[in-house]
Amino acid sequence: MHAIEKILARAAGKPAVVPGEIVNCQVDLAEVNDLYLQTIRSFYEMGGKRVHDPKKITFILDHYAPPSTIQQAENQKEMREFCREQGIELLFDIDQGVCHQVLVDYGLVYPGMVLVATDSHTTTHGAFGAFGTGVGATDLATIMITGKLWFRVPEIIRIHLRGKLPRGVYAKDVILKVIGDLGADYAVYKAVEFTGPVLKTFNISERMALCNMTTEMGAKTSYIQPDEITLEFLQERGKHDYEIFTSGAANPYAAEHTYDVSNLEPQLAAPHSVDNVHPLREFIGKPVQQAFLGTCTGGRVEDLAIAARILKGKKVHPGTRFLVVPASKGVLLEAMARGYIQTLLAAGATLVTPGCAACLGTHQGILAAGETCITASSRNFPGRMGHAKAEIFVASPAAVAAAALEGKIVDPAGYLD
């Protein structure tokens, strides 16, 4: 069996599982964010009285952090009350940041676990060898009542990465290239595993970006085999004992793709779909009114470090708003300790409180009609960040910072001295 199958077999209490099989799995941690008041509604509609295990449920208020309408405030209030009534202690309030980063910061993610959240980017946690997958409110409510959820065991696609990334090219460019080649629906109902020597050069932040974006090719989950980089990271933060599963040697993949990244150029996803991927050079000179650095895809300390390096002692272009949203309070504090935030503020960046912010077009940086935004986040759907006639280009944090400096899309490689 593949490691992913071993995780599901363990969670289902079965000796073995095969792709296509429907299994009912114990969920190790279920996370609800503040878009999903419906989770509580569904819980009661299904006859729920007490949650199955309050220690295995967490609420993270991140999408409306802090709330900008009365309704958002009411929804968050109801969630806090639910947590209090149900004895759910893992409530992370509006000061904490994006769920996927908060979970990692607090050591709640570990290899071999089944992690289910009301957020499509839960694939992020494949970076730790966890089975992370996104669901809707009613599925999550099912877990709250039963402790379990059904899954179809996914076929697994292998993406093998070899070679050496050129300067100015990052994990984000790699995954954009993969999505552009394979398409937004290539991995629907399937899992994506990353393998190969390039992973040894990727830190946890870059691995999270890779796994995060597999959602944009439809993947149910993603996987990177835990190694010494994973273990070192978990040693510092991890709270749980864990078991690392390894794939059998003869494990068959549904498909295999090898990428030599040595000649990869910076990529971007042009409007209005994430698989509309082009070499960034095709859009050099395109003016941008907003540059957005943040989210569960591109708002970690390493991303802020790159931006600070590019903007140190310089000024953001007067025609461009540069929004910086650390993914979490932990990220913000570390970036402050390292001086990155000070550098970015001095350069003219707008600092936004940790959270999802403008990524999903609800607040804190909405786009007007006709505006163009370059973003380190994950999506450029029509209307995603505001007006449907705004244009969104998805790129690496380096490309975002370089565009903020120049007021237009540029190759970031020339700004890394």
Partner: protein
């Protein structure tokens, strides 16, 4: 549960994401009636006015990809959507819609044999799809046994309620 569904068709293209089905700025709403007013607003602003209960949504590949927002399924459920047929679906939406009791059928090339306003007949038991306006027929993938169980129960909520319905006296 109705096993044969007949309705007028609304046809959409590939990669219609959940932001288009239900724009992010309305995510704070929870009342299904309120939610339904914004159904498909990002791709078809006239949808909520024109769509009648029992009508059918047809799309090309990867319908409802993207965000996990259940609002997308809630909106289409509250509109009285008879069925949704697409070449393929975003996986979270697939679960969400089935959980709410909306029949979803994977039907490769369906968008090629229907146009907006055609009358479609869908047999959920056999997967046989007939365009009654043109006479064309096409075969959808049959629903899995588990999915059929959920649909026959009227969605996952009645199913869970009957299996696990908790009483106040039961210790958590």
């Amino acid at each position: 549960m109705q096993k044969v569904i007949r309705g007028r068709v609304f046809v959409y293209g590939a990669n219609i994401d959940t932001d288009q089905i239900y724009p992010g700025r309305y995510l704070e709403l929870t009342d299904p009636e309120e939610v339904s007013k914004h159904a498909m607003e990002g791709v078809d602003p006239g949808f909520a006015k024109e769509f009648q209960p029992g009508d059918i949504v047809v799309a090309s590949t990867n319908f409802a990809c993207g965000s996990s927002r259940e609002h997308a399924a809630v909106a289409l459920k509250a509109m009285g959507t008879g069925a949704i047929l697409a070449d393929s679906f975003g996986r979270i939406f697939y679960r969400n819609a089935i959980n709410l009791g909306i029949p979803l059928l994977v039907c490769p090339h369906i968008h090629e044999v229907v146009k907006r306003g055609d009358m479609l007949k869908v047999d959920l038991t056999t997967g046989q799809v007939t365009n009654e306006t043109t006479g064309a027929t096409i075969q959808a993938q049959p629903l899995s046994e588990y999915v059929m169980t959920i649909l026959e129960s009227g969605g996952i909520k009645p199913l869970i309620k009957s299996q696990y319905g908790q009483k106040e006296s039961i210790e958590g």
